[in-house]
Structure formats: C-alpha cells, structure tokens
Symmetry: C3
C-alpha cells in the first residue's frame, strides 16, 4: 500500500482496494494458507472507548493469521487515562508491537497516532468521524455475496444524515460504474448535501423515497441502519413514523429473490427477529466477512513494513481547529495541519471546514 | 459426544463421561502429547458476569492445548451490554471462533446461546442453575485421587439447600454403584426433597448428621462448602452454630488417613488456614484437575465439530416461564420450550416446574 | 539464578545481573533466536491495581518469547476481590501457569506470594516499596546506550525523597566502580539519609545541587522524575520553583553531546515535548529496552525451573509489623518474618524497621 497507515479509506487507490478485496476472498476460501502468515507479530489494540465487537473482530483476525495481541479496552480502569498524552502512549506501545489498532472518541485520533508511531496504525473508529474497516467489511460482503461491486441498486435506510457508515459506503460505491442509490429516510434525516454534490459530480443516479415499502422492489442491496428515537422531530412523529423504517417479513416479501440485506450491527429493533431466518438477511455473515477483511488488511499492512519513526510534519497554519470533537483540542502538542486555501481551511485531523479571516 | 454442546452434565451418557475422565487423566500424565491439539482454534469466553477463576481455568486449558482466546469478562464496561440481544452476540461471535464458553447471571442462558451458535457452547455457569464444568472438575479429582468413582462414602457439609455444586455432585455420584452420602448441615439448610427422592429411587444410601465432628470418621471424601451468615435463622443461632461447620485441625484429626477434602473455592473461613498443610486437603490441587478436566472437554468438543447453524426449535407451548431468573424473561424472542405434560410443565431453559391450568 | 523469585534486585549477585544484562542485549540484537524459547509456557499477570504500561511490557516480552498469557488487571471488576486471600489466589493460579507476575498496592505482596507459589514470582511493583524490573530496565538502557555501567556521572532530578526508582538506581549503580551522582532537588525533597550513608560506606561520590541548570554540563546521564505539586511546601513555592526542575530545550543545550536523558514514564510536564526530538532523549527507547530486560528475566527464571511448593517459613518473632502499607496487615495468616536483632527488627516483607521493647 502507498500509505503506511489506514486512517481513511478514501486515501486508498481503487487498485489497492481491489487487491485487498481479492485477498479477503482468498483468505475466506483457503484460510489454512494464511494461518501462520503473521506468526511472531504483535498487534496492539488501543481502545480508548470500549467497542467489544470491533475489538473481537480485530483480535480474531490477528489470531487466525498466527499473530498475537496486547492492548487495553477501557482506559478508565487503566493507568493510561492518568494524564499520559496520546503521543507518549503511541511512542511506547509502538515499541512493543508491529501494528497498532486504535479506537478513540475524538475525531482525528488515529491520524494523530500515526504521526508518532513506529509501526502502521489502523483507524478502528475515531468518534463519529471515520470507521474505514466497517466500510471495508461492507465492500467485502457485497463483493463476495453479489460477485460484483458494479451495477447495483443500493437502498440505504434509516438516519442518513448522521450515519457515517452509510456516508462512507456511498462514497466508496460511487467509485464503481453502474451503481445507483435509493435513499430512504424522513425529510429531516436525509443525506447531507455534500454527498449529493459528490454523486452529482460523478454522474451517480439516486432517488429519495419516504418509505421502505416503496423502495423494496427496486433494490439489489438494502443497507439498514437505525433511526434513534430522539432524531424524530417529535414524540408524535416518532409514533406515527417508526414502523416505516423497520424491516419486517411483510416488507421483505416485496424484495427481489437476489436481494441482500446488510446492517453494520448492533441492531436494536429496526429489523425484526423473524427476518433473520430469511436467506437474504446476511448481516450476521457480514461480521464474518469483516473478520476476513481485517485479516487481509493486517496482512497487507504488515507486509514489507519496517519499524521507523518518520519526522512529524510542521504546522501549516497558526489557526486552531474549532471542532470541539477534534483530537487537536485535547492534545495541545499536535501540529496544526490544514488543507485548502484562501479563507476556507479543512482540518487534516477531523476534516471539519473552518472559515478564517 | 452425542450432544454438540455442554449445557448440563446430566445429558452426558456414563460412557461419554468415563471417556472424558480418562482423557483428563491422560492429559495430566502426558501433557506434552496434547500441547498442539487445538492449534489454530479460537475459544471465545463470553462472561456476562465476572468470574476470574473460572475464566482463567478455561483460558489456561485452551492455551495448554495450543489454542487461542478472544472474549470479554465484564459486559458493564463493554458495548455488548448496550442493547444487543444474546442471540445477536452469539451469532456474531460464533462466526469468529471455534468454541464458545459462556457465563451468565440468568438460568438457561447457555441453553439459549446453543440455539443460535454455529459452534459448540460450554456452560460455564448460568446463574444459580448449573455449572457442569465444576462437577466435571470434582469427578476428575475424585477419580485421580482415589482411583475410583465407586464405593465412596462422601460427606457434604455446609449449605446443602442452596449449593448447586453439591446437588450436581450427588446426582452424578449416584450414577455409580456403592457410593453413599453423609449430609452435614443445619435442619433449615438440608438438601432439597427432590434429591432425596432421586437417591431413594436409585437405592443410594444417605444419612443426615448435625455436626461435622460426628461425620468425620465415616468419610472417604469430604466436600466442604460455605454457609453464608444470612442463611442462619437468626444472628443468635449463627453465633452458636458457626463453628460446627468449620473444618479445623482438631476435627480433621478424626478423619481417615485416606480422606480427601474438596472445596469448590473460593473459601472464606469454613476451612481454617492450618488445614491447608495437611496432605488430605486437596482443594488447591482440585483447581488444577479442573484445568485438565476443561482441556479434555474442549478437545472432545472440538473433535469432529463442524461449523453449522441448526434450525431453531419451535415453541412447544404458549406459556411463558414464570421463573424471574430464567433467561426467557429477558430475551423475548426465545422459543417457549417446555417438557412434561398434563398441568405440570418444566422449562427447558431453567428447569423450573410450573403448574398450568 | 540463585533465587527462584525476583522480589528485590538487591538479592541478585553482580555476576547474575551481568549475565541478565548481556542476555537482554543479545535478545535485542538477534530477537529471532529467542522467538520460541518459551513456547508452551504460560505467564499469569496478577495485577491487583491497574498498570497498563507495565502489564503491556511484560505481555509483549512473553509473547515475543513464544509464550502465552492469562491474568487479570483490575480486581475491582473481578471476583478475585471478593474475599479470597492472596495465598489462595496464588496457590490456584500457580497451578495454571509457569511464571507469576504480580503488581499489588501493598508493600511485600510479591514476597508474600512467593511463599505459596509453585512457580517463580516476579515483583512488578508492590506499592511504593520495590519495582525491580524498572531498575533492570534502567540498567539495560544505560548498558546498551553508553556501553558501560562504570565511570558515569549520573544526575537524578525531581522528588528524590519519595522516588523509589531513583533510590533503586542509586543503590545498583553504586555497586559499579567510578560512578558518581549529582542530586538535583529542593531541600525538602532530597534523598533519604540512609542512601547517603549507603554511598558513603562504598566511597561513592555525590553532590547536591539546587537547579537542573547548574548540573547539566556535568552529566553523562540525566534521570528525570516528577515532583508532584503537593510535595512543595506551599503553593507559592510551587509557583516559584516549578520551572527549575523542568527539562526544556534551553537547559538541554548545556548538556554534553553524549548525554542520555532517561525517565521512568509516564511523564507529565517535567520534560517539555520539544525535548523528545533531541537524539539525547531516550526515554521512549528506554521502554523498549524494558521489554528486552523482561524477556531476559522471564527466560532466565523459566530455565530449569520446576514446579514445586516449598515449605512456608515459620514466624521468626511474635511481633506484628507496624507499617500500615505492609501486606502483613491485610493477610493475617502470613508468618511474621523479621531480620535483625536486639531491639531493632526489619520486616522481611516491607523492609520497614521497627523498635521493639
């Protein structure tokens, strides 16, 4: 891979991504061939907020490659929380391990870690910002289950305004020809306008529909997510609307035979339990694809990686990022890195745009 | 094994149990022969309540077989607690692993897990209901230490009303010829009448004695457990009685030379520290036998097991189990499975009986 | 090693220490040669207080030797805290594992553990008492970085009164010829008089200086530690003095080119972040040397070790240790072991001296 770290899936070329997807498929088919490929290697999982599912997926992935694991999963009960900077922890732990996997509540934390790490860093979720291995999981699932990443009509249902997994999926699938999207949500929770611009610029077709029922017959893929109760504009609207975005057996009947239903999990009640038994429901298999995706990623990142500390980039501007969820607000020593120019800058850590005077 | 899962030791035939005990003994004698037998396999430990001792025993067992481990040990600090059903967690984690070990505060939880797992499930304690690997540990200990499981006079001391380990031991040892029991407890804390019926039906001899002192000379085996202070009928009675059920050097002197003292641990003060140095005290060795017992179990369960999801059984009745500690009260999607007929049903999850109209 | 356990570095002969340092260096240079030397062995990490950094260092060390790990890191969320004695836990866990690593808030806890363990015990910190593997880390760092352990002028800066890592370093380095010390602290936080006596008795040179600035040009090694705010005699003094014991770029300029700056970590603000980029700052490398130090230690302790329970020594006196932080106050069954004679006894667990009548 061109990049030593995986912070944002967008930084990967389509050729690199394609190689990764093929490798994941090969690992799935002949896992025995890869059982010792990371023998002697250590993965450190630095989870600054608990995420048992993601952590277990990474751990299972590394163990199935023959590697080993150190790390923490709850800094509150750990001494790491006691006033050590992210930089110091990363400098130390990257001396013990061969690859770092980081989960953090602040946007840009994995990017920050990559500045000080002697080994490759994988972003396992940085606040509501990015979660590239979830999207990688979704792509492997689609590739393996439909046999292609092109010419798919993909329904996205739920809270499309705030769902980072949906945003990332739309971006990635827009890179492949022939895909179109059906966006199913309330008027208030539609996808952000920048994503519409993104699709328009690439000539990607999309429709917005108010109900899951209308959309069902059109879809090759349905990507379900949850709308949290408090996102509805009123309790009354919640009561009226809630059923509209719940997938049940009745609605599923209107779907194609070849439909595939995905969900990033955990689900709450947006898919009824009965749906689980339908062969088109593949959200549990999806988590297993996620393990193969992470195996392919770890293997690729460790291959040819050498331990080295690269010089930390210098601040590009004097400004401070104004995003309260950005890691730069918490770790004051970080360089101030922005892209763009004129009076509009984008923070390299959290990707928030900022108007400067 | 006939059964894919180990939920209740009673479901194992005596031939299967015998094979398991022999295997545990062989592993103990030539551990090197088994050091790589689970190479490449992953055990997931799903501990919905912390139990460090049990978890470490399972982990050591799996590691000594060459296998690896993922899992969690405290769902409060983990995201698993955040509204994901037991079913979903089991479906996901059984995609990452080759065997599941589950500890849960609700009765029937391991049984529930077995309905949705693609890999074998081991019950590592489900509330106050069952704890089959503790009983397996006890059987391996007796078999290795006395060289037999027959013709033993077994004293059980402590809270025999509520002690599930004692109940399970009595049931298992009643399957072997020539064993007899001496039950040592307060009148209020004697064994439940169903266990007396059980022994009567099998022609198993038993005596009830009020003091440990009287019982000592009779015993080949003494299985000690604790009476919690609050189980006594009054504070006054506690003060009068407490010493009666404490094993100390003076009482131990009245025991046979070949006596073996067991305890499921942790002990509090029901065995004095001085007793530890007596060679007849084998409760610490017992925990090591527990590791061999679990090694034999894991090895047997993984042998010839293939990943598959069996169809979930349909509800047998419309009734709901009334036991507030039953897993079915918490996980509403579970099928309602009962055995028995007429107006008396037994819940297949928690084994509670229920009168229906 | 003469001693089966590592409780206190002082109990190691200089020849043994020297062998250990050489082995650590060899492991660092050709790690591959040692990658399977602990294959099949299990290390149990019993951390009665969280110390993520120390635990990860031990874990990485054991994994890089091909071994495996069980243990706990937070007894509050674990059942071990529920009324089981240290003795019982150690008896049980030493039946599961091949080496125990213990961290505990009470002085003497590792010594106590060693009385009941069937396998070697390593002290990973017992309260403010001892932390031998930190000192071992410091020695390996000095040996590898300066190529010698003799003829070094070593500056120790910070709270020298309470800093156990500094005390231990001074003791160890006083065993080698030609070393001298520069002690940099406030008058209230100077080193204890017993350490001055110790150096005087061995003819070791030392100077006390009030500022880091004056000391800088003299030093081959600077060992930085933190002065906690509350150690200053007043808030006013804190404000006046705090900068004096902070290492920044300006002060570092006065240091030799060959200077090496060490710190046991975590640092808070006693070394400014800019210093990290100076090649003389080796505190992050120091943690990696710590991993090699622990690899050498584990390997040496496991070599030729056999599982056995040694008879527990009998109480030497009737007295109880008066130190409120001593493990003997918490675990009442421990033998009362004291050294010395006449009316001055030293507790063998916590090393506190006690006047008896």
């Amino acid at each position: 891979m061109t990049n030593r770290h995986l912070i944002d899936l967008s930084s990967m070329s389509q050729a690199e991504l394609s190689e990764l997807l093929n490798l994941a498929g090969e690992i799935r088919r002949v896992p025995g061939r890869f059982a010792e490929t990371c023998h002697g290697k250590i993965m450190a999982t630095l989870f600054y907020e608990p995420s048992t599912r993601t952590q277990m997926s990474f751990q299972a992935a590394m163990l199935r490659l023959g590697g080993r694991i150190i790390g923490f999963d709850d800094p509150n009960s750990s001494s790491v929380a006691k006033g050590e900077s992210l930089k110091d922890t990363v400098r130390v732990v990257s001396g013990y391990s061969d690859i770092l996997v980081m989960r953090h509540p602040k946007a840009g934390a994995a990017k920050a870690a990559s500045l000080y790490s002697r080994v490759p860093v994988v972003n396992a979720g940085d606040g509501g910002h990015l979660h590239p291995t979830q999207t990688l999981t979704d792509l492997v699932t689609l590739n393996e289950e439909t046999g292609r990443l092109t010419d798919l009509c993909i329904g996205c249902c739920g809270d499309l305004k705030n769902g980072r997994t949906v945003h990332s999926l739309i971006k990635q699938m827009s890179r492949y020809p022939g895909n179109s999207f059906v966006l199913i949500s309330t008027p208030q929770l539609g996808i952000p306008s920048y994503l519409k611009d993104y699709m328009d610029a690439r000539g990607v077709q999309y429709t917005e529909l108010p109900t899951l029922e209308e959309a069902m017959p059109l879809l090759d893929v349905l990507y379900m997510t949850r709308i949290q109760r408090e996102r509805f504009s009123s309790a009354q609207e919640y009561e009226q609307q809630k059923g509209v975005y719940v997938l049940d057996q009745r609605k599923l009947k209107k779907g194609k035979k070849s439909l595939r239903v995905l969900h990033p999990l955990p689900r709450v009640d947006e898919i009824t339990v009965e749906v689980d038994d339908d062969p088109r429901a593949i959200y549990f298999e999806q988590t297993e694809y996620g393990m193969y995706a992470r195996m392919a990623l770890i293997l690729t990142m460790l291959e040819g990686s050498e331990r080295r500390l690269e010089p930390c980039p210098k601040s590009t501007h004097d400004h401070r990022c104004q995003n309260p969820n950005c890691i730069t607000g918490q770790e004051a020593y970080l360089p101030r890195l922005f892209s763009g120019g004129g009076d509009m800058l984008t923070c390299d850590f959290c990707d928030e745009r900022m108007l400067v005077e």
